[in-house]
């Protein structure tokens, strides 16, 4: 019987398996950010050492300022978070891509750029969006602080073999439809807990046709469907993207790695625990209206009416969501006005995302304020070379430095209470973008369109005749 890519990656990393079925697995790369201080505290309390500093990388992203960086960090608590990461990594001999490094950016954007992410690796980070790295055929998942401490001390983790779910998307996405629209469509259908306990393989012609940036967006959002991780079998697009990256194998070593990586695919007769299929042509521009990513619908739909939902606990959840969002049942989504936009994050802060937003914004003015934070300083430099930075500035948006920024509001970039933000991020949770903030998730093109019209808008209307 054949094996899935999930089984192949798992089997290659098992150190030992206990009688109860739990396996100790080897971790190839461990990524850290400022939130790792709890884990370093645990290591200190045990008077233990970091076992493999050479396989561990720190990246400053969650708390870093995106504006006025040259003046330092004004808030002393935030400054301490960035300094703690510097101190902890330095003491342990861990390489750090810190605030002043030209490679700085969001850890899930930087690690692939630097070639730290490769097919066939296990990659962990104390961040749920670690699933992003699965786009390269890596087995990559988010962990909590106690597990971060365990990896620091042992470079291994005790894990249960995940169940296997294959999501197959056939056909071609329509013009102006992106990986974000597909991911939100998947989450709306299967639910925010639809993939709980599962590792997801994304497959099918629509996935194969995606750029690496699109694949990263899709895998990134696996956690919002409850998935343990999401991955895509590596192919020529993957290898071409990785060739020449600083930490990727070089020359002949790269070519032999490619030979090995080609075997990382599900065998034709491999069986999954679950299979779900989608038709790419059914995917519409999609936005969220509520407080969970599963509260997503096509832009031409309306908010649901709890009175029409038979199950009382589900009706109550919809009532609660609409009340928090300040929306009435049956409101057309494209009539919802927004107060600001945010373009960035580990979900949609890559060069292709910025190009898609700029294609809508070029020659136009935003009618609401907005912040554009590229996923890394490398993305920022490339965007400026392509003239995208100028397009954002001329549209009236703020063109900032790189970090998690307004996706998680830890660095002070926040949506004010009660305000409504069209956002390319990953979570529309209550208070996620700041206390009392209201978030509508969407693609970069859709966020750009909302900036231009001041309401949720089908970006295709603004792209007509342009592409």
């Amino acid at each position: 019987m054949g094996r899935t890519i999930i089984d192949k990656l798992w089997d290659a990393h098992v150190v030992t398996t206990r009688a109860d079925g739990t396996s100790l697995i080897w971790i190839d790369r461990h990524l850290l950010h400022e939130g790792s201080f709890h884990a370093f505290d645990q290591v200190s309390r045990r008077a233990a050492r970091v076992a493999h500093p050479e396989l561990t990388f720190g990246v400053a992203d969650h708390y870093v300022p995106t504006r006025g960086r040259s003046e330092g960090i004004a808030n002393p608590e935030i400054a301490r978070m960035v300094r703690q990461l510097e101190d902890n990594t330095k003491r342990a001999g861990i390489r750090l891509i810190g605030l002043d490094d030209p490679r700085q950016g969001i850890v899930h954007v930087v690690a692939p750029e630097q070639g730290l992410t490769l097919p066939g690796l296990t990659i962990v980070c104390g961040d749920s969006h670690t699933s992003t790295h699965g786009a390269f055929g890596a087995f990559a998942f988010g962990i909590g602080a106690s597990e971060v401490a365990h990896v620091l001390m042992t470079q291994t983790l005790w894990q249960k073999r995940p169940k296997r779910l294959r999501i197959t998307v056939e056909g071609a996405l329509g013009p102006g439809i992106s990986a974000k629209d597909l991911a939100l469509t998947v989450i709306a259908r299967i639910g925010a807990d639809g993939a709980q306990g599962h590792a997801i393989e994304y497959a099918g012609s629509a996935v194969r046709a995606m750029s690496m940036e699109g694949r990263m967006t899709l895998c990134n959002l696996s956690i919002e469907a409850g998935g343990r991780l999401g991955l895509i079998a590596p192919d020529d697009a993957t290898f071409a993207w990785l060739r020449g990256r600083p930490f990727a194998p070089k020359g002949g070593a790269f070519e032999s790695a490619v030979e090995a990586w080609r075997a990382l695919r599900s065998d034709d007769d491999a069986e999954f625990d679950r299979e779900i299929g989608f038709e790419a042509r059914d995917v519409a521009p999609t936005v969220t209206w509520g407080v969970s990513p599963e509260h997503a619908a096509p832009i031409d739909a309306a908010t649901p009416d709890p009175a029409e939902i038979a199950d009382e606990s589900r009706a109550q959840a919809v009532r609660d969501a609409l009340s928090y969002m300040g929306l009435e049942p049956g409101t057309p989504l494209n009539a919802i006005r927004v107060d600001r936009v945010f373009i960035g994050s580990c979900t949609n802060g890559r060069i292709e995302d910025l190009r898609a937003a700029a294609a809508v914004l070029v020659g136009r003015k935003a009618v609401v304020p907005g912040l554009v934070s590229p996923g890394s300083l490398a993305v920022k430099r490339q965007a400026e070379e392509e003239g995208l930075g100028r397009i954002f500035r001329e549209a009236g948006l703020e063109w900032a430095d790189s970090g998690c920024s307004m996706c998680v509001a830890m660095n002070g970039d926040a949506v004010p209470p009660g305000e409504r933000c069209a956002s390319t991020t990953n979570r529309n949770f209550k208070g996620r973008q700041g206390p009392g903030s209201r978030t509508h998730l969407m693609s970069p093109a859709m966020a750009a369109a909302a900036a231009v019209t001041g309401r949720l808008t089908d970006a295709r209307e603004l792209l007509a005749g342009r592409a």
């Binding site: 709890h38 066939g120 365990h150 042992t154 930490f247």
Partner: protein
């Protein structure tokens, strides 16, 4: 870690689905050292209004003082991997969350901190949330060995991964188990260096 056997305390009914870890502890409180205690920040924006004043809520209900059990709807603890969400629960006094489903990372974090994620059917979660015993703040009983939650006459069975059950019952610690595996790790590494030469790091 302190072993988990049984609990007999009032329960907090939290009739909400998708209670994400951003709600369990808003990001702005996560800069603090754990030693200060995260309990006051548990579900902070649900318990307090924008000005910091108290809102009517089941966590601060005096009838439930000392509650170590929290009952919620599906997908509890979804979202961010922040273990601080479990620290906030634990520091508030919660040792068991009863819900129809849990975010995977949350559930794993919970077990590592001695907090039991007890999975019940949706019908039993609704019955517990509606139970008079819970409403009146009478003690409910959680028995890990028997895998039951009892409130008044209602006895709801719960599911828990057998590995986690053993770990909670014994208060086992992962790191100690792993240190004993050092020879297997060395064996794996020697073999792996040959099987996957490309996995090492250059530069």
């Amino acid at each position: 870690m302190e072993p988990f056997k049984t609990l007999e305390t009032p329960a907090i009914p939290l009739a909400l689905a998708n209670v994400d870890t951003d709600q369990l502890i808003p990001a702005r409180f996560m800069k603090r050292p754990r030693a200060e205690g995260y309990g006051p920040f548990l579900l902070h924006d649900f318990r307090r209004d924008a000005g910091g004043g108290p809102r009517d809520n089941p966590l601060d209900d005096p009838r439930r003082t000392g509650a170590a059990v929290l009952i919620a709807r599906r997908n509890f603890g979804c979202g961010s991997s922040r273990e601080a969400a479990v620290y906030a629960l634990r520091d508030f006094g919660v040792r068991c969350v009863v819900a129809p489903s849990f975010g995977d990372i949350f559930a794993s974090n919970a077990v590592k901190n001695g907090v039991l994620p007890a999975r019940v059917s949706e019908a039993d979660a609704e019955a517990l949330l509606a139970s008079l015993a819970v409403a009146e703040g009478r003690a409910v009983r959680v028995d890990l060995a028997a895998q039951t939650v009892s409130a008044g006459n209602l006895v709801a069975p719960f599911a828990i991964d057998p590995v986690w059950k053993t770990q909670l019952l014994n208060g086992w610690d992962d790191v100690d188990l792993t240190m004993a595996e050092q020879p297997s790790i060395e064996r794996f590494r020697a073999q792996d260096a040959k099987a996957r030469p490309w996995a090492g790091l250059v530069g």
